[in-house]
């Protein structure tokens, strides 16, 4: 069976025959469709108070859109996520690079990243809300705390592990330290940084939920908790679906960016 496998692989690489790849995509779509179907079937045999199917969820979604509640909740949660995430990128990437370049910086920051990274953000939720109140800023901080460490650590590890031979090439052509940083370290670490952003985005979404759970009047997370308290299960399902889709979209988008930027890594994985 080995030879036929090789043929498939070489076809995929060459791009001449898209057949096999399309077949696998089809299989994935089929899997999702079956899953939704199973969801619908399960919903028929369970209490509507605790479990609703895709149809009811869809109806609730349309209803929420019509009233305009969902848009304002999405806007607030989106704002919290964007601010917090942007802040963690602006601080995490430079700090990670600084740690990779300077041993001293790494020695100072390493214990803190280890301690804070292993502290569950869930435990910080009440404290942050206590400090910053139930407005947007407490959520921004929780998103920031969640996304910062995956971004920082991935940047650090990525920049640290840039092939020493690449640095030798830069040296051999007389690159200055700044040129070496710009032409070797950054592009070499970029695939890792993108992975860090992907993990950070997912942690950031978690931060939104945690923050809104511990104290807020708006946002999609808040909508979920409020709806659960009044047994509006369809609304809960809408909220969960929104978070799931947000995580999926962020993850897929960043994976696509990674594939586009670093095709040689994909090749090495095969």
């Amino acid at each position: 069976m080995k030879p036929s496998e090789d043929i498939i692989r070489s076809r995929e690489k060459g791009g001449a025959g898209r057949g096999p790849r399309r077949r696998y995509t089809l299989l994935s779509i089929l899997s999702v469709v079956l899953g939704v179907l199973a969801w619908q079937v399960t919903a028929r045999f369970t209490n509507k108070l605790f479990f609703v199917g895709p149809r009811e969820t869809g109806a609730a979604f349309v209803e929420l859109l019509r009233s305009g509640d969902l848009q304002s909740d999405l806007w607030v949660s989106g704002l919290e996520l964007s601010y917090g995430f942007a802040l963690s990128v602006l601080i995490g990437v430079p700090l990670g690079l600084a740690m990779a370049i300077s041993r001293r910086t790494a020695a100072v920051l390493d214990p803190w990243t280890s301690i804070l990274y292993s502290t569950p953000r869930l435990a910080l939720g009440p404290l942050v809300v206590l400090w910053l109140g139930i407005g947007i800023s407490s959520k921004v901080l929780l998103v920031f705390l969640g996304a910062l460490f995956p971004i920082l650590i991935n940047t650090y590890v990525g920049a640290k592990n840039v092939d020493a031979q690449m640095k030798l090439v830069a040296d051999a052509f007389g690159a200055t330290r700044w040129e070496q940083f710009r032409s070797i370290l950054i592009p070499g670490a970029l695939p890792h940084i993108i992975s860090g952003l992907r993990l950070g985005a997912i942690q950031g979404i978690l931060g939104v939920i945690v923050g809104e759970f511990f104290g807020s009047r708006r946002g999609v997370g808040n909508m979920i908790f409020a709806a659960a308290e009044t047994f509006d299960t369809a609304k809960v399902f809408v909220g969960i679906a929104i978070f799931a889709i947000a995580g999926l979209v962020a993850s897929l988008a960043l994976k696509a960016v990674e594939r586009w930027y670093a095709p040689w890594r994909q090749n090495a994985l095969e």
Partner: protein, 283 residues
């Protein structure tokens, strides 16, 4: 014809390379005794010549090349290029030497063109002189010279080993080096590709006068390519022979089958055999 060629050689601008009493000693962290990689190397390489350095593996020939390029400093002694002491490439205002590496060491995120241009975009030379239009022109020329036309936009991972080494060579040539340092560039290639690359290297280097220092452990390769062959001992690396290659300068691959060639190879092997046996016994 021959006289004319010699005349050109005399007028060359390519600097001589002088290795003067160079030692390289590594202070080992695990062993008490320091490791002597190079022991009192003295050699004067005339400008514009093609030199090969051969020796058993681990004899320090790559170390010597890195020393000549200034990437690592000698423990004792000095390397001079055209009368000036060699410094780290980063500290060399007018960098007129370039390195072709053993593994191609191309930047995976750059295309073939991007990799060839790299040496022109960084470093003292790029900072001082080469304007953007000139970079594009040089890249074009080097693509042509090394037979890479049509591969401009390929990424290294899409290329064969032979193609990658062409890019490796083109990247060095694009900086217009007067001294070209080559560290076993064909050793990872299959036998047929290697032969063709050797022939192409002669063609490319024959067009312009420059000093070439070529590391190899392949006696045939050294004989085929070079005018002078330096033979090194097993560790600690010493120079045991400076061998003037009597073969005519214009050669093609068929010369490898000639009686003279085979005799010379035999001669070199006799010089080297003891050293190779020693280095095998050590490891």
């Amino acid at each position: 014809m021959e006289a004319e060629r010699v005349g050109v050689a005399h007028m060359t601008n390519a600097p001589s390379v002088e290795v003067d009493g160079v030692w390289k000693i590594y202070q080992s962290t695990t062993h008490r005794e320091p490791l002597v990689a190079l022991q009192d190397i003295n050699v004067n390489i005339q400008g514009g010549r093609f030199i090969s350095i051969i020796g058993p593996s681990g004899c320090g020939k790559s170390t010597l090349l890195y020393l000549i390029h200034g990437l690592i400093p000698p423990t004792r002694g000095v390397v001079r290029m055209g009368a000036k002491a060699v410094q780290h490439p980063r500290d060399t205002a007018d960098l007129t030497r370039a390195m072709v590496f053993q593994d191609s060491m191309l930047l995976p995120w750059k295309t073939v063109s991007g990799n060839i241009a790299y040496g022109l975009e960084v470093g003292p030379r790029g900072r001082k002189t080469v304007p953007h239009g000139e970079i594009a022109k040089r890249v074009e020329h080097c693509l042509e010279l090394t037979g890479l036309n049509g591969f401009e936009r390929y990424y290294p991972y899409e290329l064969s080993g032979g193609m990658r080494q062409r890019v490796n060579l083109a990247r060095a040539l694009a900086t217009h080096p007067d001294v070209l340092l080559m560290d076993e560039p064909f050793s990872a290639l299959d036998a047929q590709t290697r032969e063709l690359m050797q022939e192409e290297l002669l063609r490319i280097c024959g067009a312009e006068s420059r000093t070439v220092i070529f590391i190899t452990h392949d006696l045939e390769e050294a004989l085929f390519l070079s005018e002078v062959i330096l033979v090194m001992s097993s560790r600690p690396g010493r120079l045991i022979e400076k061998f003037e290659n009597p073969l005519p300068r214009s050669r093609d691959l068929s010369i490898k089958a000639s009686n003279d060639f085979i005799k010379l190879k035999r001669y070199l092997w006799n010089l080297l055999e003891v050293e190779v046996r020693k280095s095998i016994a050590e490891s």
